[in-house]
Symmetry: D2
Subunit: 369 residues, 4 copies
Amino acid sequence: MSGNTFGKIFKITTFGESHGSALGGIIDGVPAGIKIDQTKIQAALDRRKPGQSAGGQANASVTARKESDKIEILSGVFEEKSEGTSIGFIIRNESQHSKDYSNLANTFRPGHADLSYFLKYGFRDYRGGGRSSGRETAVRVAAGEVARQVLEHFCPQIKITAYTQRAAGISIQKTDFSQIEQNALRAPDNYAAAKMNEKIEELRKNGDSAGGIIACRVTGLPAGLGECVFDKLDALLAHAILSIGAVKGIEFGAGFEAADLTGSTNNDIMRANSDGSKVEFLTNNAGGILGGISNGNEIFFRVAVKPVPSIFKEQQTVSIDENGKFHNENLKIEGRHDVCLCPRIVPVIEAMTAVTLCDLFLQNQAGRI
Amino acid sequence: MSGNTFGKIFKITTFGESHGSALGGIIDGVPAGIKIDQTKIQAALDRRKPGQSAGGQANASVTARKESDKIEILSGVFEEKSEGTSIGFIIRNESQHSKDYSNLANTFRPGHADLSYFLKYGFRDYRGGGRSSGRETAVRVAAGEVARQVLEHFCPQIKITAYTQRAAGISIQKTDFSQIEQNALRAPDNYAAAKMNEKIEELRKNGDSAGGIIACRVTGLPAGLGECVFDKLDALLAHAILSIGAVKGIEFGAGFEAADLTGSTNNDIMRANSDGSKVEFLTNNAGGILGGISNGNEIFFRVAVKPVPSIFKEQQTVSIDENGKFHNENLKIEGRHDVCLCPRIVPVIEAMTAVTLCDLFLQNQAGRI
Amino acid sequence: MSGNTFGKIFKITTFGESHGSALGGIIDGVPAGIKIDQTKIQAALDRRKPGQSAGGQANASVTARKESDKIEILSGVFEEKSEGTSIGFIIRNESQHSKDYSNLANTFRPGHADLSYFLKYGFRDYRGGGRSSGRETAVRVAAGEVARQVLEHFCPQIKITAYTQRAAGISIQKTDFSQIEQNALRAPDNYAAAKMNEKIEELRKNGDSAGGIIACRVTGLPAGLGECVFDKLDALLAHAILSIGAVKGIEFGAGFEAADLTGSTNNDIMRANSDGSKVEFLTNNAGGILGGISNGNEIFFRVAVKPVPSIFKEQQTVSIDENGKFHNENLKIEGRHDVCLCPRIVPVIEAMTAVTLCDLFLQNQAGRI
Amino acid sequence: MSGNTFGKIFKITTFGESHGSALGGIIDGVPAGIKIDQTKIQAALDRRKPGQSAGGQANASVTARKESDKIEILSGVFEEKSEGTSIGFIIRNESQHSKDYSNLANTFRPGHADLSYFLKYGFRDYRGGGRSSGRETAVRVAAGEVARQVLEHFCPQIKITAYTQRAAGISIQKTDFSQIEQNALRAPDNYAAAKMNEKIEELRKNGDSAGGIIACRVTGLPAGLGECVFDKLDALLAHAILSIGAVKGIEFGAGFEAADLTGSTNNDIMRANSDGSKVEFLTNNAGGILGGISNGNEIFFRVAVKPVPSIFKEQQTVSIDENGKFHNENLKIEGRHDVCLCPRIVPVIEAMTAVTLCDLFLQNQAGRI
């Protein structure tokens, strides 16, 4: 119960199923008097929508589902500034094709939340994933953009950038941020993105799907964010990022590779700058976090994204009959589905990172003496 | 601020620095009338202590620091049963060698929380890491054993087992749970453990240290644990586990490998059992969690542990002078230190897993109709 | 910051200003599978609206402002049952006469939140009270009706009844629940209500307003609700009720009169019933709560409601100029306003009581062994 | 469950039964670098102890039980300054006369939490009230003194003063703060206190007890504390104060008397000061709070305290037998007990007020732009 809230001071609470009439959320804890740019919130939502990340390549191979995400802000903003009160907003679901899903009412799709929801709640909203649908991430993106604007008010130099580092088995060879929005994969390497896209197109034709790895970098973040025991910066980011559907892992800095390093190779060497006013790190195996607290270095983490579970190949699975008995079943999923989630999860990771950092920043403010 | 609490219903709040007079905690939310076995709590603490995981090998190469961890339960338990009130307990620090650390008062150890604490709080408790010391995990282990006993009351078949899967570059070749406590590494493979130990001994002689990977498996957990959006089971476990010092990553099921799989190879196939009463999974790429909710399959996750940052080689670092200026410095750390943290983190991972699962179990109870 | 949430398991989060485009809320923690009757939610909202509590008397003297409160439930309910997910809903503001308030933009109304909001937030949403307007209680009433339905699922015999006990200096002489909805005051005594109404009408003609006292009784509540230290049942009810605008005090059972009693006259005598199966109380000075936990007796508390601050007499007050200087001012408020809030607060008190009890009931469920 | 924590940023969590080995608490959220004066914490505890409030009169008539309250601070303070980490502390119970209570093991004392605890938890720690004992307020007083020191760091002019306004039916006739610690009642009127004491002595001889009313005033508090909807300043204070055992009501400013006022007499008139730099109030019917937010005026509230339920007259009550059947019983309580709780609750009310204000102050800091 009650798992629909994230954050302590900057706090978001959300609602909405994929096929209900609307999704939405409440953002609590925005300080009063901060400029809230609604155009940028809409732009963030538009960027999350399918078909928005294309550069030279056709985007069609990556994703194929249509959604419209017009936000309506209902409270908390007056004359373009935050009022200090809670910001409520909704995003209508325009096309709820419930009929598309009726054949799934009694069948549990492999790799989806269908079975676990059924076992938890005793029944199931079979309309396209219900609350477990990726559709709920639209609300996160809107809240994340508000968080980013609040952070930017305090730290104008902050920059949160996520990108596809690997997809369908192909990795980027360079990290040119200017290319991220130039290709369908949101990869900072147009050439690698083209290769990924080819591979994804091949999988799509085969009725299959792809996973990938997303990296996220935060520059311009002050040192000192994160709390000392349970609310470490990395712990909270892990909570935030693993709460995104399809994410199966996270690692900070050297991450799993650190397991094979030794202390002398893993420790990041610190150097005083020329006038002794600050400390600089020669490496970043820690990912910018020591003891759970940002150390002034770039925050860096990597996220594992599983392949889309909705595929067009016939799959073995189970259904349930009216007496509550399970039966083996062969299932062929229809409709339109993403083939690789990476480019669409990129903005969601940025959003959840912004929400987490904004909350910790405001927590730090509370403790200033 | 206020990051010393974990959980919503089963809630632990902790305190204590490595060199203060005591550590301790308060466990809130234990239902009334559950048998609390204090002997087992002490046994869990003893298991976490250095020198307790040895089998055939000498443990000395892995860890070398002495601690005594006698727990004193001060409230909430009456005639061996929980009273439904908060359980307060303390663990005294017996030897607080503050003098050992005085040479570190102005120098920031690489790989430690020294600098980030200083930048956050404006000053520093230099006595051995203060609140960031691994010493605080003793409190987690005590609370975790209470959580395990509560869980066991409701699910007698539950079993949480963590173990070292890889250390100093060497992986286990088999998973024989009966061997975990037979070797200094807490690896389920005595032969591999011996190899790891050799490698660690070599690093120790070299003044260096090792990292590793810990795996954790939970069997006997009911399906349906975890909440649908932000408090997904994997998100909460990630929060819990990443809050342990030295942990740099977590992955569930196939984890980062899932990034390279396709939907058809990653989706776990479900089958009805013979009488249709339940669903079984043929594989476990999901790690027992779908849509953030346990699906009845084994919970499986892996954790990256960085090499111990305290090494005996001379390191480049910085110090601060009385005017707040940073200076470059060469540092040689003295004293006794662990060489590889894996065997000592194993019980902490089990503890935090128990705390997380217990909390979610009680949340599920709240929602029963 | 972040004060827009109430509850721990059954948790409501709300938003909305009096003159924004909508108010709304998110209810989290409703167990899955409970029948949610939307007609009753709308009925509860309709009952809160002005002009709905009239019996024989014209209601006009009590309140005079028009609002329409159509609820739109956006999520969390599927085929008339709760899904276990968060329930989002909105209530549109239909007539936002912002122009009515422009003359108040720089003047602080006595008895209102205008000045304290300004001093807190640094600026002010002058449109009719903004977030501090009584309009936000519509959201509480909707959430309260959901709480009541959840409680009723578990305790079908539960009954929460609030009523005006005193208004404009006149008290009820009897407590006939069947008369509550028969008069404009929501008093369980039509004759006293007529007297109150006369007095209120007189005040209205005089450009003045009235306060009163509301009582609340809960029958059919199980013993054992409330937590032992900070979350005592009376403490939580006090939090919930004092969070309603215009409420200035609360007392349980004998309340302030208990201050003058002695132990021997204040202690409620307990008697075993005839077959020894339960305990009955001969009196109820405790208001059904001992040690912060319901004892099985009727819950009884009384609430002080201040007179409506918006009056039509000229009042001395202050305004602020563009340089941030305060000036003395004479103010004459215009528009339509309630004269006595009691009948409109009655449903809000019932709602907040239901929310509090529902949350504590679900907390108790979490602890069942 | 989980009701042992209060506050959001400045957060206290407590434990301890009257006859366990110790009570204690954890204070989280204290900013780093604030001077923590342990002598004053001990002094606050000493002031709460019986026999410490005597001036000219013998205190014996008011209270008669011996306790020793030595605090041991275990963490979070280093070189007399807060470290920013959680502050853990314990207070030992020195004399746990469990035998005194054995005759009460199966009998439920009237006016106590015995029955409601039994009905909640299914069994009972009969040793002197267990967690419901007034003994737990020692922990609140310690935490409250820390809160006061933190508040004082930010607002050096803040002053929280509670005092007995009425006891055993006798009210003070003047409010001379300098006399509060000069009499056994903690009344700001030595003459009235002598009268109260006479009356209490008479009741004591009669085997009976007395209630009273405590007032609390806060000066020097900045405007702007309190949140707009559920966490109004008065709502949080009500929560905090009603969580103290024996408290049966609270009212702010004119409180229940406001129910009989009209808008024109209840509204506090505001005036600009001579240079227009601030607003002053001519009256304080609002108790310093408008719309749930402090308005710069003195905070004023009154608290109803019930008579001590432990009396020496024989009382009718019930007991329970081994088969779970209730029986009527006559009970004569023995041992030493307070006759009037007012002077001992005075420091607890100050403590809980400090905790509440400190938390809201830090929340405000979080939102500064």
